[in-house]
Amino acid sequence: MTPPILEVEDLRVSFTSPRGVSEVLHGISLSLQRGQILALVGESGSGKSVTGLSVMGLLPRQASITRGCIRFDGREITHRVPRELRGAGMAMVFQNPRAALNPTRRIRNQLADVILAHEKPTAAELHRRLAELMEQVSIADKARCLAAYPHELSGGLCQRIVIAMAIACSPDLIIADEPTTGLDVLTQKAIMDLLLDLTRARGMSMILVTHDLGMAAQYCDDVAVMNKGYIVESGRDPHALFLDPGDAYTRRLVNACPTEQSRLGPQSVSVPPASAAPLLDVRNLVKTYGRDFRAVDDVSFTIGRGESLGLIGESGSGKSTISRLVSRLINPDGGQILFGGQPIGQMPADHFYRTPLRRQIQFVFQDAAGSLNPRFTAFDAIADPIRRLQQGETSELGERVIACARSVGLPEGLLNRYPHQMSGGQCARVGIARAIAVDPQLLILDEPTAALDVLVQAEVLALLERLRREKGMSYLFVSHDLHVVRMLCSRMLILRHGKVVESGSCEEIFRQPRDAYTIDLLSAIPHFRPTGNGA
């Protein structure tokens, strides 16, 4: 057997800061054969990105390798990665492709820079190589792309360019660090398929750094699960490993991962009688930006009392705009919003805070930490809506805040902390407590778990489901994740370019999607459990 292309032995990495030295990798070992694809899976802070950067020799200045050894193709590169090796021997693809390209240089020159850094082709040869590269990353409009600046291209195209740069000098190893984070589901699938095809066709090896178990299972031969700077479990065939995890952490991770089969306890969706008037009735809603960009284009839906409706869409589909229109943060340009039969769409958003309906419609924001005033303690954050919206009842303020905190599972001791002193999950709980503090009838949730790690996401989803049942609230749940919506909602609405393309009960849509876009969306989700084979 040929020697492995990459060997990592007992790697330890420490970060030095004015506060002291902290070790982030506690001795990890990996081995990668030629042509093999390895997934490094873990939550944020697990050390998976640091591992990738260590191999490339791109650790930030304050980090250093304190022990262990990295060998590339039998050559020791632990402390110094020769420049020629980067690009020609191994290359790295990062997340956020738009930022990964030089904004003031044409794509053609950036690609040429990479080739010229390692080889000395003639002008004609260079030209031919560039055209070839564009073909290999399946870019049809070669001339336009080569002449363009990064800001003129979409995120997906930019990532293809970065991949073209990575394969330009035929490296043996590609490290892809969350290469599809921030891209839409469909683009994500296209990019991953491309990376897989290229790796297989060129006999390269790849390390895929990801938080997505489904992606790891679908695209990789081998997997290493990381937690807090350790590799807790690794093995061949991710499917098998995820279906029967040996390690307790992996098992928790797998169980928390929303899949087609995930449920939040017994499904007890109380479908309201058809005759009952809906709590929220949205008719022909329109919101226009600029001269002719219709962010929301003739959208209608209803939410019954105690019901939860999922709003699905990719970025730019108008789902966040709808959530802000319904919660009266912005003004619609057309259509009606009826809340409990009362038209609220016409009231200017700037004055809505004075109406008694303000406390009936509350909002849980996407970025939990960012939705808390940095100068407010958790107590103040939860107390704020009570103070503003329920005047005259402030005598029992302290007790009410504590009761609220208790109902979202927030320890009382955390109430005098500031947002930066709390974890993401704790901030999310404060955000939810604030929203339910004034007992609203409708809660609008805008991707409330998108910024959270999968374990915390599972807890928050369970909490939301429990609160809905206990308090009889209605939810408008906005998300890009079909599985998450399915766990929490009975009906869903699929949006594209501001229009509704499909709506119906979740069961139905999953069983039998009608619209072509929905079908694409469903098939693009990476998963690690063979479909049709209930777990």
């Binding site: 791109l58 200045r61 690009g87 930022a99 030089n102 904004p103 003031t104 990479v114």
Partner: protein
């Protein structure tokens, strides 16, 4: 070279500068009316003009008309380049400006060049080795430069290099009065001497220029270096530099083509602000070195209550400032492909 969007942007900028210019003109106009004294006196032929002449002027200038009408007349005068007469020199203000502006520009541009030559490398290196000993020294140097007012540093430089070491020539004026002046082409002595091929004269002019230019350069080295460092630092830590390193690009290319090129845009914007700071600092430096520029002219005029000259200076500054900002916009739209019409 310039894209269509860039051209449109520059056009819009010119249009946008009009209200600013009008504002300054209005300010100058009101100043002329608010200040004690009779404008007719300033526009009269000289300090000895008789009452009859002044009365005739009053009528001719329309000072007996309403304010808006007067403002229109005033604008009309400006369009013709008529800024009135200076009491001190007895010439028209336009004539005085034309004679003195090159001296101020020569001083300011030389100082700007000095400061850029020092600031850019300092800032780039400080950012590249951010946090190192070198970075700390650059920082200390900047703090020191910034806290020395130009009128203190100017006097100290003269004391050291003229009185103590005798290295510099007598720090008054642009050139020794005995040196024959070159044929006036641009009015900037260094350029005119060079055009005339008179290198001895060039050397003299350069020697006279060094101290005032250094004084002014010292004043702006700190903001320029800091901006360069900050801009470089944010570029160096950005994702595309990491990508460039991950693809194995040579270091010099990463520093020059990838980092500096992108850091240049905020630096360029700073240069605009620095230039206008320098135009202000000109007043102090020209006074210390008896430099026959527009700023010292304006100061003398201010002290002598020669308001026609003062307002001429303010309008000139406004015009220069609009021009400088246009040039910077032009450069920005060449440098940055992302610049589009707002």
């Amino acid at each position: 070279m310039i894209s269509r969007a860039g051209a449109t942007r520059i056009g819009l900028r010119i249009v946008a500068a009009v209200p600013a210019l009008l504002g300054v003109i209005l300010f100058a106009f009101i100043m002329m009316r608010v200040l004690p004294g009779d404008p007719a006196v300033y526009f009269a032929s000289g300090p000895n003009a008789g009452q009859a002449e002044i009365d005739a002027l009053r009528h001719k200038m329309g000072l007996d008309q309403s304010m808006p009408l007067q403002f229109l007349h005033y604008l009309e005068g400006l369009v013709r380049g008529d800024l009135g007469n200076s009491l001190v020199t007895g010439q028209t203000v336009t004539q005085d400006m034309r004679e003195r502006l090159p001296a101020s520009l020569e001083l300011t541009l030389t100082a700007l060049m000095f400061s850029l030559v020092i600031s850019l490398p300092l800032g780039v290196l400080a950012a590249w080795w951010a946090g190192s000993m070198w970075d700390q020294w650059v920082r200390a140097f900047c703090s020191l430069c910034f806290c020395v007012p130009p009128f203190v540093s100017g006097i100290l430089l003269v004391y050291l290099f003229y009185y103590m070491f005798g290295l510099a020539p007598d720090p008054t004026g642009r050139i020794n009065i005995f040196t024959p002046l070159p044929h006036r082409v641009t009015g900037m002595l260094l350029i005119d001497f060079a055009l005339a091929g008179d290198w001895a004269g060039w050397r003299q002019a350069a020697e006279q220029l060094i101290l005032p230019a250094t004084t002014m350069a010292l004043f702006v080295i700190a903001p320029l270096t800091r901006m360069t460092r900050a801009a470089m630092l944010s570029v160096v830590n950005s994702d595309f530099i990491r990508t460039a390193r991950a693809m194995g690009l040579p270091t010099w290319r990463i520093v020059i083509v990838y980092s500096l090129r992108n850091a240049l845009m905020p630096v360029l914007t700073t240069i605009g602000i620095v230039f206008s700071t320098m135009m202000g600092a000109n007043v102090l430096v020209e006074k210390i070195f008896s430099w026959p520029g527009v700023a010292s002219y304006a100061l003398d005029a201010l002290v002598a209550s020669d308001y026609a000259a003062v307002q001429g200076f303010i309008l000139l500054m406004a015009f220069l400032f609009v021009m400088v900002n246009l040039v910077i916009d032009l450069l920005l739209s060449v440098l940055d492909p992302r610049v589009t019409v707002e």
